[in-house]
């Protein structure tokens, strides 16, 4: 009887340990709900997600790499490079007389294609030359930083067409009380009539991308191989997976996601900046680790990573509403990161794998 009780307690403890990120998230929401005035509004939640887009994308990029047992330090500056390339291309296209929409469209497509290159180089270095991921991606961090500064020597990346701003800061759905709905375009209303804005475009785009990659990781052969490589590289090789090619693909995917974060940044802030993603390295790795992944590889899921990213985003917005300077955010993120790993140590059975 006694042993049953302790077993029961142990199970309960394990359950709590397993769900600690969720519990932490709920506690965080309740805390800010009680202390920060006006926290529980649709708008604030939209703002959280709006500012969290970059962290989400970067965290998913980092997740794929971390599952294979690697690390990608270059994501922040690849993102910065992409903001600059996208801005310059779109400005160039619209200056050469292309219609705004097609200019933006082609600018984004070309940026995303170019965004594969840093990942390709990283992947080849890591898989073919056996360069440790830390060093290879750090070199790429330097190289992409250098290239973005070089691109900026001919003038700042700005003056995007107005449409970019409309896309980046617009919403998917607008409605006016008694006036019906309208999609994408803000309805013309008389002054003082309140327009409800729902689903910011960039959030919708981000969530679609995230959903695609969640599917890729959990339901496709590509995802299964990713876990296999992270779990045990030798047995992955023996079971016939082309590990070298797969790792190259993983790093390409990571830099593709980083550059899509750059494109979204460009749409949101209508400029390009070399250090746009510099401070996101800590956030994205923290999000992955909070989501239960482990740096030795083989563990982690996309949705838990997104939960980690949202925890950080809520923290940032909540602290801002409370009027606490962002400095505290860095401390908090650091503490949560360490907490996450400690919990992982205390409950080793709790981490995830799909």
């Amino acid at each position: 009887m006694q042993s049953l009780m302790t077993q029961k307690n142990k199970d309960l403890l394990l359950k709590i340990g397993k769900q600690w990120a969720v519990i932490f998230f709920v506690a965080e929401i309740i805390f800010f709900g009680l202390t920060a005035k006006g926290f529980f509004t649709v708008n604030v939640f939209q703002i959280v997600l709006f500012f969290g887009t970059a962290v989400m994308l970067m965290a998913v990029a980092e997740l794929f790499v971390i599952i294979t047992g690697g690390i990608d330090l270059s994501v922040g500056y690849v993102m910065g490079l992409s903001t600059i390339i996208a801005t310059k291309l779109i400005v160039y296209f619209s200056a050469s007389g292309m219609p705004e929409f097609w200019g933006i469209f082609f600018g984004i497509i070309i940026t995303l294609v170019l965004g594969l290159i840093p990942g390709l180089i990283n992947g080849l270095l890591v898989s073919r030359l056996n360069v440790p991921p830390f060093i290879a991606t750090f070199s790429m961090l330097g190289i992409s930083h250098g290239v973005s500064e070089l691109l900026l020597t001919e003038g700042a990346a700005k003056n995007l067409p107005h449409l970019a701003n409309v896309i980046g800061n617009g919403h998917f759905l607008y409605f006016v009380k008694g006036g019906g709905f309208s999609f994408f375009a803000r309805p013309e209303v008389a002054r003082g009539v309140k327009v409800f804005e729902l689903f910011p475009n960039v959030v919708v785009i981000t969530l679609i991308i995230v959903a695609i990659f969640a599917f890729v990781l959990s339901k496709t052969v590509f995802g299964i191989h990713t876990y296999a490589i992270g779990g045990n590289e030798d047995s992955a090789i023996r079971s016939g997976i082309n590990v070298k090619n797969h790792i190259t693909k993983i790093y390409m995917l990571s830099s593709l996601l980083a550059s899509s974060a750059g494109v979204i940044y460009m749409l949101k802030y209508v400029t390009g900046k070399a250090d746009a993603g510099a401070s996101l390295l800590l956030d994205s790795i923290a999000a992955v680790v909070i989501g239960g992944a482990c740096l030795t590889g083989g563990k982690g899921t996309v949705w838990r990573t997104i939960l980690g990213a949202v925890i950080i985003a809520v923290l940032e917005t909540g602290l801002r509403i409370l009027g606490i300077p962002t400095f505290d955010k860095y401390i908090m993120v650091g503490v949560i990161l360490i907490l996450a790993v400690l919990i992982d140590r205390i409950f080793p059975e709790t981490t995830y794998k799909e």
Binding site: L129, H145, D275, P325, F327, D328, V335, I338
Partner: protein, 358 residues
């Protein structure tokens, strides 16, 4: 082919020495190259500037060398430096403004407290890594955020300014001031010479040289000639074997991270002397990553057990010469990031080709 090359290199002592010290050979190559391409590169003043400006990076590389040899990594050094710099600045400022203490006492108290404070992040990450088996990357990344946040809180987001002038006089001073016709002066300009005439004097051996020389000498002694250094290599080479041979590995790892943070703290205090203000570290500075880069260029392996302190310092100098030389030769300074990237990859590839050299 690879085997042949290895064999040839094995047989020739000279080639072996060159491959082992390729970073040093590169350094000499670049110095010669830039002497031709850059006007004014080859001068005592310029060389002094290169070293003077890379003193902080040398501290960082020294800190990383110990950690990397033990098989870990310390990402927090850059922000620990910022924390120490801001702490020293704030204390000196407060004491100085209160007017109760002489300048020397203010500076002394500020520096000592900053150094003690900088031990704390090292202690915490050391305990997490040694006792709780948190991966060094994560533990120090956590510290990265925490120390940065605390430093920014202390200084409220602005550098701590209006500190006594004596700081920069020490930090940017020279041992010898020399002018033809008016003789040699030690440690300061001759009486009655205004600061704007300073260019007329040939200034030799910055005080920073003496400081960094002593620090490197002591650290090199610790690494090469003491049991502490021996144990560091032993732990990095094979932790299990180190435990079995009776080394208290947990305690030793904590000490290594404290040492690393302490060296970073010294860099922070030095930073106050050099700039005359307490600086927090910006995200773009990436001291920790350039520190790791210098250590890897110096031939250390991130797997641990390998690395030499002087080689890491050569790594720092190589990066600094490249940066300075490119600038003087009129190349866009941003190429330096790209150049460092290539150097790093080269370092690893050389390491992979000749694994038995080091």
């Amino acid at each position: 082919m690879k085997g042949n090359l290895n064999l040839i290199i094995e047989q020739s002592r000279l080639l072996k020495a060159i491959a082992r010290n390729w970073a040093f050979c590169f350094l000499i190559f670049f110095v010669v190259l830039f002497s031709f391409t850059g006007k004014g590169f080859l001068s005592i003043v310029n060389f002094q500037n290169i070293v003077h400006l890379s003193v902080i990076a040398m501290f960082m590389a020294a800190a990383e060398t110990f950690v990397i040899i033990s098989g870990g990594i310390d990402l927090s050094v850059g922000f620990v430096m910022g924390l120490s710099s801001v702490t020293a600045g704030k204390i000196i400022q407060t004491l100085f403004n209160s007017g109760n203490y002489s300048v020397g006492v203010c500076i002394l108290i500020g520096s000592v407290i900053a150094l003690v404070v900088s031990l704390i992040p090292g202690l915490i990450s050391g305990i997490m890594i040694a006792k709780f088996k948190v991966p060094p990357f994560i533990a120090t990344l956590g510290m990265w955020g925490i120390t940065n946040g605390i430093a920014l809180k202390i200084c409220e987001g602005f550098p701590v300014a209006s500190l006594p002038d004596a700081l920069t006089k020490i930090g940017n001073g020279y041992t010898i001031y020399f002018k033809k016709g008016s003789g040699i002066n030690f440690f300061s300009l001759p009486e009655g010479v205004a600061n704007n005439q300073i260019r007329e004097y040939l200034r030799l051996i910055p005080i920073s040289f003496i400081i960094i020389f002593i620090v490197i000498f002591v650290l090199r002694h610790i690494l090469n000639n003491t049991t502490f250094g021996q144990h560091t290599y032993a732990i990095g080479g094979n932790e299990d074997a180190a435990i079995r041979s009776g080394i208290n590995v947990q305690k030793h790892i904590i000490k290594i991270y404290m040492l690393s943070a302490f060296i970073a703290g010294m860099a922070g205090v030095f930073n106050v002397f050099q700039t005359g203000i307490g600086n927090f570290t910006t995200f773009g500075a990436m001291y920790e990553l350039f520190g790791v880069a210098a250590v890897v260029i110096g031939g250390a392996s991130l797997m641990g057990g390998k690395g030499r302190l002087l080689a890491s310092i050569i790594g720092v100098l190589l990066i600094a010469v490249l940066e300075n030389g490119l600038l003087i030769s009129g190349v866009e300074p941003f190429y330096r990031y790209i150049a460092v990237g290539f150097l790093l990859i080269l370092a690893i590839v050389i390491d992979q080709l000749f694994p038995d050299l080091f």
